[in-house]
Amino acid sequence: MTADTDQPLLEVRGLAVRFGALTAVDDVSYRLAAGRTLGVVGESGSGKTVSALALLDLVPPPGRIAAGAVRWQGRDVDAPARHALRGRHVAMIFQDPLSALNPALTIGAQVAESLILHQGLAGAAAREAALGWLERVGLPEARRQAAFYPHELSGGLRQRATIAIALACGPAMLIADEPTTALDVTVQARILDLLLDLQAELGLALQFISHNLAVVSEIADDIAVMYAGTIVEIGPAQRLFAAPHHPYTRALLAALPRPGQRRPPEPIAGMVPTLAERAAGCLYADRCPLVLPACRLARPRLTDIGDGRSTACIRQGEVAA
């Protein structure tokens, strides 16, 4: 993981989330330092969103946090106390800004609410400060647009507004769950730049969740690859792409159409096991070209393989062949 000399801002160990008898997220561990970006990559069913929600105690019932330790700024935060992290310490933005914003409130009011809740401002002071935030996220006519309702703005501006709402809380960390997936590609590029700018300016730790590896690679320092509820590989972004150490990571890279590669990409056979189908042993076994009988006996744990990387595969050395 990150070669940091200071204490990481956030440390998660062994996070597990269950829905009734089914395990959605299991044994998720990672670290994040201030000013760094962790990209969390995974497909549907990978648990990437649920594990982020678990951090802030936002998992909707019947989900519940079954295990896991979280350390924030060096202190342990148990499950009930994670509620207090919301907004003030860790803010979160979601995928679709149209449905993520209250349709009945102006965006100015929604930004102001963050300030009222966490910065002790009220009334006119809150409104002025809200304007400041809207300008900072790049709204071209902040004063006029603060009175707009979410449906009156374009997708890109809406997402900028949600970023303003999140950052106005004054957090040290931002979790962005697929923030650009619903946006056009040119708009996406600008939003990514905005996030990088704001991160540099505010020293934010950023957890960027996406199913799109290419997008994540443009913004992340480290990448955690999730599959069927657990992290299968984690490490510095460029090294991960250059030489993957988990068969799933490798297959995922091969399934992406690459610029300049003018032929269809290689599909991964099979499907992600549903919550109910998760047997013992490695969850990728049924789709893995390197599978051995030993793989099905026990779930491989995430092991440090040096160089800042960890992977959950017993044949990790043979992957990047």
């Binding site: 590609v185 600008r190 159409p257 991964i268």
Partner: protein
Amino acid sequence: MSALLAVERLVKEFRGRGGPVRAVDDVSLAVEPGEVVALVGESGCGKTTLARLILALEAPTSGRVLLAGTAPAGRKRTARRIQLVFQDPFGSLNPRLSAARIIAEPLAIHRLGTRRERGERVAALAAAVGLDPAQLGRRARAFSGGQRQRIAIARALALDPEILILDEPLSALDVSVQAQVLQLLLALRERRRLTYLFISHDLAVVEAVATRVAVMYAGRIVEEASRDALFDDPRHPYTRLLLASIPRLGAGKRRHDTAPEPPRDAPRWTGCAFAPRCARAVDRCRAETPALASVAGTPAHRAACHFRDEAAA
């Protein structure tokens, strides 16, 4: 006319606030048999409206659509020859119907075959798209996104069309599933000699599968070229912007520019619609609408830009 599908000067106008809005503005396109023509553009560019016009789901304000040289008579006739696969596999299938009924529905509507014959056809189609025939009795909502898209493809093939319009068929799918469905689509094209009109905003996928690409902006085609020509040598500033915006793996943290995109209801310019966003724009661009004309030396590569003859820096 060898073109299988020809769109001639199609215009579709809607009444918007403050005057008529042209969702499709004088678009002409020809698709030869066996091609994969990709229609690329961002939201609001008119590509979906264009698809609807081709399928006769909407009537054009002016212009026409020709199939193998003749204008088809009405929507039902068009449906026999061109079919559509939608973007959203969750919204485009009635969740309460069984997969078998969904696939058989076009046959029922056009009164083709006896019940037994339809059943056999459905089974054959399911096999062709990689669905387990034993599962066909299950309701649509029991299937995953990728499987639903397969059902949608099977349904589209039921009438044995010549052309498939695929409107963002992969966008709602996981990456690994995208690759699977893409592989299926290409195999089907080979086996059944289909022609595809592939609408997408995902240039990476387009680069992998298209034979020819048309880029749309504000209701017009601004560049049209063979796949290789477009990606190697784009001649329209918007195309260059699109290509520069595609996230690239392995390039590390990249910077673009942070100024926000202009609002969609920007004042209507005479001249080039892209001028407000174009670094290269000069007065001529604002005064004179550039025509979609051939780049010097390569007649098949056309761009709607006054500077089309300048290669990228």
